[in-house]
Amino acid sequence: MKVKVINRNPDDYLRETKRNIHKVPRNFDPSLHPFEAAREYVRALNAVKLERVFAKPFVASLDGHRDGISCMGKHPQMLSFLISGAYDGEIRMWDVPQQMCLKDFVAHNGVVRGITFTNTGNNFITIGDDKLIKTWKTDNSWDEKDDIPIKTIPNKTVLTSITHHYKQSIFATCGEICQLWEDTRNESIKKFKWGVSSLHDVKFNPIETHVLSACCSDSSIILYDIRDVGPVHKVVMKMKTNSVAWNPLEAFVFTAANEDYNLYSFDTRNLRRPINVHMDHVSAVIDLDYSPTGKEFVSGSYDKTIRIFETSKGHSRDVYHTKRMQRLTCIKWSLDNKYILSSSDEMNIRIWKTKASEKLGVLKPRERVALNYSEVLKEKYASHPQIKRIARHRQVPKHVYNAQRELRMMKDKIKRKDANRRAHSKKGQVPFEAERKKSVISVQT
């Protein structure tokens, strides 16, 4: 007879000294781990609850301006550097991590309409209601005379927006017409015009750098090619577009912030039908900015809220608001993909986290592993009703809540009426109209 019974040597299972960590023998046999799915589900539920508990997106506010902030410029290389312009013509330079104003001076007589950095980041160019284009040195030291620009170009008409080429020393302005300038010259090198209506926003494409988009007051978006003589395309929409942002990774995609509370993502190859309609705002969308990953963008609205959208989704992933924040005027997504900078009517620049529940600072390896694990669990069980409900729940201000309800009622009413009309008329008489097609009136080339 040969016999053996299980006999464990405690030395193999206990730590030698108290300074050691405990030994944790594992056996991955599934029968030793019952209720795998149910326990994962509970973990996912806990994770999603904790995510909501820790969702505190507001980081800091930069105050100092004496009037509402009209525009901001983020430096192409320096993450901590920010410039803001106000309605009283003042420009301030900020050190964002220190939350400190480095410098302030009055740059324009009247509103500062636009700020843009040159492609190198050494200089920045501002425009104002005084019809001047001023080039300044990106220098935050106090020693030299600060309120003297390197160069001032007077313009005949009012300028509304400015954007700099991403590779060459060219910038574009818009107002009554779209003009192209070279950094070193005092005369515009090119002029673009389509129709009589004025333009209020202009943006260069970061990848296809010679492509330029402009928003027109006749509720259209015009695309220019700066190598060309005239404009390329024009999309006419039902309502005015306030601002446009190009996707930094997909050269052919841009998103337009519209007056009709929605944002529209367009593929420039087929402008007849936007690739996505992003709804959720309850008032006109003023500005938007893409994340450097090109997967998300942030929008600021006249309804005093900031919303973050995923490019492929129709509804926002998150909404930020505070009691004190008023109408948004400008919004930027920081180039390290961590923060959102918003400026609003009430003279403050606010810094927000892009992920509301993210822990700032260095993570310990175990912490990171735990967070990654709960991320995966949340994704795996995302469609469960309980988890979905908790993950989606957001507290919104009363006026937004009421407006949402009102909008929903209006939409439902229209849908119901359409359905009834369809049900009581001949087949094909009342066709379905896609939501994406509704807003585009025509495309001209």
């Binding site: 007879m1 040969k2 016999v3 053996k4 019974v5 299980i6 006999n7 464990r8 405690p10 193999d12 299972y13 206990l14 405990h22 030994k23 944790v24 023998p25 594992r26 056996n27 991955f28 046999d29 599934p30 029968s31 030793l32 781990h33 019952p34 209720f35 795998e36 799915a37 149910a38 326990r39 994962e40 589900y41 509970v42 973990r43 806990n46 469960h384 439902d412 849908k415 119901r416 359409d418 359905a419 009834n420 049900a423």
Partner: protein
């Protein structure tokens, strides 16, 4: 015939080896035994074919004696760990490619063990993006399975075994003889407690197998660490004790006394008196749900959440006295045996039993479900014992008849089945898929068996009887490798405290208890369809017209306004129903 040189042996002449048995000496490596018989080809061809066919039928059991080997056949790599007991037998097959051949392939049965089921069919996925996403997911799942299977090589312990020589049978060895031939520490695991006064006893081990709880019918309750024989507490509750049960940690246990259930701590101090649980006859603790499930003498069945102290559900089974109770450890469903030969399964989510099945034609005496949640064994008064597949109830897998009716029945983690009949304990192995011809071990007690429990992660069977408690050695009964994250016999106090908190954080809600524990991870297809349909109907069309006329117009109930209001209410209700 060309012979490829083997790693551990010098090359011999091929003609010689063909007719010789190759048996390297056992001293070569202590635990490695090589039995390789090479036979000339024409001999016993048919027998060889039969053997291969047999192998294909059940790949688990491969006869270790004859290993057919020729340089043309592909090398087979064998499982190092023998599940059914035995020395580590590693068979080296010559490597056909002396250069590095790549990673060792994983045996199918190992992969099967760690598999979470088949993946998603790609056919239904229309867009390329999503197909890619799912492919990636599937790949990850496959990788995880492989890694888990590969990690089995790290398992430190082997299962116990008892191998008999020719002419011997395993039943002939008494516990004393077994204890004499194992090492000293294991020998101490065979012991007997003579407790004549307060029996019959009931015994239960904790989930990590470290502690033991004894409860005598006449009120004697004792808790102790049975390995070190350190007593935690010993009390007499001065009342009848019907059942005892450990709660989630070894510092608390519940005792079903004459009227109510009491909770004591490990020093014997009464913590709670649960008056909600009245006249309880049997108790089971569901560790992942923190639920104490009790069955009463009058047929009531209750689930009590011990973390909040509230009753989750309480039903009257209407089946009379409940005295045979077991839980399915894999899905937390409670099983009851009834006097009509019926087995019922209950979950707190439904008032009716999930399963009601006639198992025997005579009253049941015992019932147990194995820790893997695969087999259920039932014993009836007509001396029959049946083994069922719990996942697929239909015909019994095995139907045995024993000499006398089994009063208790118990499965070990390796599917050994212990039967208690009067004063005799019999242990069977390989009795579920195959028909066991004879008992594996037999033991005779001085008293009559009242309760049995296999100790988790040990080769030990604890038998409580009318005259005390006996701990028996059953080689090969326990799972040798524990997972310290689930149940750790070497747990320290701090570890226990942390594990308790972790366990409380992931307490599974009671309404998830169902026959299929993976249901929560599956796609809820029908309700999704229903939802979409309902939403469409609700949104787009007018509510259906309902002919509404009030039944009778009583005094003061009339008036057109009121009538209109009523009509509206009825229509709203109809709309809701349609939802």
């Amino acid at each position: 015939m060309n012979k490829v040189p083997r790693y551990f042996e010098k090359v011999e002449d091929s003609n010689e080896t063909q007719n010789k048995d190759i048996k390297p000496k056992k001293e070569f490596k202590k635990e490695i035994v090589f039995n390789i018989d090479v036979k000339p080809k024409p001999w016993g061809r048919r027998r060889e074919d039969n053997r291969i066919r047999k192998e294909q039928r059940n790949p688990n059991k491969i006869s270790r004696k004859n290993v057919k080997y020729s340089p043309n056949t592909k090398p087979k790599l064998w499982d190092h760990r023998t599940r059914d007991g035995g020395v580590k037998k590693i068979k080296y097959v010559p490597n056909p490619n002396p250069k590095f051949p790549g990673r060792v392939p994983i045996p199918k049965q190992k992969l099967q063990r760690h598999s979470r089921g088949e993946g998603i069919e790609k056919k239904g996925i229309r867009t390329g993006v999503h197909r890619k996403r799912f492919e990636k997911k599937e790949k990850n799942i496959k990788l995880a399975t492989e890694l888990a299977a590969r990690a089995e090589i790290l398992l430190a312990e082997d299962t116990g075994f008892l191998e008999v020589d020719a002419g011997e049978s395993s039943t002939q060895f008494t516990q004393k003889e077994i204890a004499a031939s194992v090492d000293i520490t294991s020998a101490t695991k065979y012991f007997e407690l003579h407790l004549h006064e307060f029996g019959p006893y009931r015994a239960k081990y904790t989930r990590n197998g470290r502690h033991l709880l004894l409860g005598g019918k006449m009120g004697h309750v004792a808790a102790f660490d049975w390995m070190t024989k350190k007593l935690h507490c010993e009390i007499n509750v001065m009342e009848t004790v019907h059942d005892i049960c450990w709660l989630h940690v070894e510092t608390m246990f519940a005792v079903a006394q004459k009227n109510w259930v009491y909770v004591y701590d490990n020093e014997g101090i009464e913590l709670h008196c649960l008056k909600k649980l009245n006249k309880v006859s049997r108790m089971e603790f569901l560790p992942y749900h923190f639920i104490l499930a009790t069955a009463s003498e009058v047929g009531y069945l209750s689930w009590l959440d011990i973390s909040i102290g509230q009753i989750v559900a309480q039903y009257n089974t209407n089946m009379g006295r409940l005295s045979i109770m077991a839980q399915n450890p894999q899905n937390a469903v409670l099983c009851f045996g009834h006097s009509k030969g019926v087995v019922t399964m209950w979950a707190p989510s439904s008032k009716q039993p999930l399963v009601k099945m006639l198992c025997h034609k005579s009253p049941l005496t015992a019932l147990h479900i194995d820790p893997r949640g695969i087999y259920m064994a039932t014993a009836a008064i007509d001396k029959s014992i049946k083994v069922w597949d719990v996942r697929q109830l239909g015909e019994p897998l095995q139907n045995y008849t024993v000499r006398s009716a089994a009063e208790c029945i118990n499965f070990s983690h390796t599917n050994m089945l212990a039967l208690g009949m009067g004063n005799i304990i019999e242990v069977y192995r390989d009795c579920c898929t195959k028909t066991a011809k004879r008992a594996y071990l037999r033991h005779r007690l001085t008293g009559f068996v009242s309760n049995m429990d296999f100790c988790p992660f040990e080769d030990v069977l604890g038998v409580a009887s009318s005259r005390g408690f006996t701990s028996l050695l059953v080689p090969g009964a326990g799972e040798p490798n524990f997972d310290a994250r689930e149940a750790n016999p070497f747990q320290t106090k701090m570890q226990r405290k942390e594990a308790e908190i972790k366990a409380l954080l992931e307490k599974v809600p009671a309404d998830l208890i169902s026959l299929d524990p993976t249901r929560i991870a599956e796609v809820d297809i029908p309700t999704l369809q229903e939802k979409v349909e309902a939403k469409k109907k609700l949104l787009y069309l007018k509510p259906p017209k309902i002919n509404f006329e009030s039944k009778r117009k009583g005094k003061g109930r009339g008036g057109t306004v009121k009538m209109a209001k009523k009509k509206k209410i009825v229509q709203e209700q109809a709309k809701k129903v349609k939802k």
